[in-house]
């Protein structure tokens, strides 16, 4: 897996270790919701729900947007996947380039040997 995402994964797993937060994700999978909606649904104080959403947001699992006085939460998963796909495509580009560069380096090594000018390092 792509290296950059390791810390993200750690954060994701930590975020998912809590039953309420898993419930919130499930809920947001059905429909976007405000923090107030979520607090009511999970029978929790606004402050408590804010904290949970904060953890999910930090892990990139949820995104929030404030419109007027209401903060709406939605699943952030897709964005995370898009970012990983973006990095992977970029990696493939460089991988293809570097495969070709490998060949150029091999060719240069071969030439040096043929020239009999191989320097001992």
């Amino acid at each position: 897996m792509v290296q950059y995402s390791r810390t993200r994964f750690d954060a994701s797993f930590a975020a998912l270790s809590d039953v309420t937060r898993r419930g919130v994700l499930e809920q947001l999978g059905r429909a976007d919701a405000s923090i107030t909606d979520l607090a009511e649904k999970f029978d929790m104080t606004l402050t408590g729900m804010k904290k949970h959403v904060g953890v999910l947001e930090q892990a990139g699992l949820v995104t929030t947007e404030k419109v007027g006085r209401v903060r709406t939460c939605k699943l952030g998963l897709r964005r995370l996947e898009e970012e990983a796909a973006w990095i992977e495509r970029y990696r493939q580009l460089w991988d293809a380039r570097f495969d070709e560069l490998d060949r150029v380096v091999e060719e240069l090594k071969r030439k040096e040997k043929v020239d009999g000018r191989k320097k001992r390092e």
Partner: protein
């Protein structure tokens, strides 16, 4: 001397990693099975550079490649992709033989600064390419642009690499 024995040691294909270090930085790493002076040569001699910068599988061709590799020297690469053409150009800011190259990308106001370092160990070279963009948006746009440009042909890439590998006898 003992060229036969060495040629039988098939070099392994090394892994390319890409890491987004921060909102504005991207780091690409790869190890090459050769000394730094040869890898450096491949990055700084146009006739070598053009052999690898645009893999055949990419569906693009390099029309021209000019590189004046010295501090303050400029480079210009021109590509054809289908009916369209594009150019990449900039200036070399640092040139330290066999160990470090820094250049600017000046084709847009939001161009990045690229730093490539070559670290040799045990006859192999660890290459680290670091790109610093002026903003998060510039990095997002550049990456998406590059990925989109390549994306069309990427489906064929694996297939083609296998074919290329087989026909050229690549390990």
């Amino acid at each position: 001397m003992d060229a036969r024995r060495e040629s039988e040691v098939a070099p392994m294909k090394n892994r390319t990693t890409v890491e987004r270090k921060s909102e504005r930085e991207l780091v690409v790493t790869r190890t090459f099975n050769g000394p730094a002076r040869l890898v450096f040569e491949a990055w700084t001699k146009p006739e070598l550079f053009r052999q690898w910068w645009v893999p055949k599988s990419m569906g693009m061709s390099l029309l021209s490649c000019e590189m004046d590799v010295r501090v303050g020297g400029r480079y210009r690469l021109e590509f054809a992709h289908g009916d369209s053409q594009s150019a990449f150009f900039g200036t070399y800011k640092e040139v330290t033989p066999h160990s470090r190259l820094v250049w600017t990308n000046e084709e847009s106001d939001e161009g990045s600064v690229t730093t490539v370092t070559f670290a040799e160990k045990g006859g192999k070279t660890l290459l680290v390419m670091h790109e610093l963009y002026p903003s998060k948006e510039a990095l997002d746009a550049a990456g998406t642009g590059a990925a989109d440009a390549m994306g069309e042909t990427f489906e064929q890439l694996d297939e083609l690499l296998v074919t290329l590998g087989a026909s050229v006898g690549r390990p």
